[in-house]
Symmetry: C2
Subunit: 82 residues, 2 copies
């Protein structure tokens, strides 16, 4: 297992409710790929969303996001944390 | 106060020790701008670092990072969190 930060672009104007629903859609199926989404943060002005997760690999993160209807634009493995 | 995610690029090969030292340099002076750096995560393969903070504004985050010797390439205000 490792930590991952995935990034979604083009989300300008996203609301708190939309972010909550998107996150809930991930949580509903995340165990099927062994993923745990820990947090999501959105900058609605610049349309960027960051999701922090613990997962077996980046593909597992992407499969959950894809099935939930919002594939990530970038996924970064984060072996270093402080 | 708000949450911010700042991003540093071009950090390929950064080590855990270097990340720890950079983070410590921020922590040492952060109160002078009312900033609290909460976490930093690094992807040494792709050279990206993410820092999560609580701060009065993006300029305060940047002033601390600049004085610590590692200005951020992007700073995003994150009014939405789940």
């Amino acid at each position: 297992m490792a930590k991952f930060m995935d990034v979604h672009h083009g989300m300008t104007g996203i609301t708190g409710e939309q972010l909550k629903q998107a996150h809930a859609a991930d949580l509903a199926i995340q165990t099927e790929e062994g993923v745990t989404f820990e947090h999501a943060w959105a900058d609605p002005d610049e349309g960027v969303i960051y999701c922090l997760s613990e997962a077996p690999d980046a593909d597992a993160v992407q499969r959950i996001h894809q099935r939930a209807g919002h594939p990530a634009d970038e996924i970064h493995r984060l072996p270093l944390t402080v």
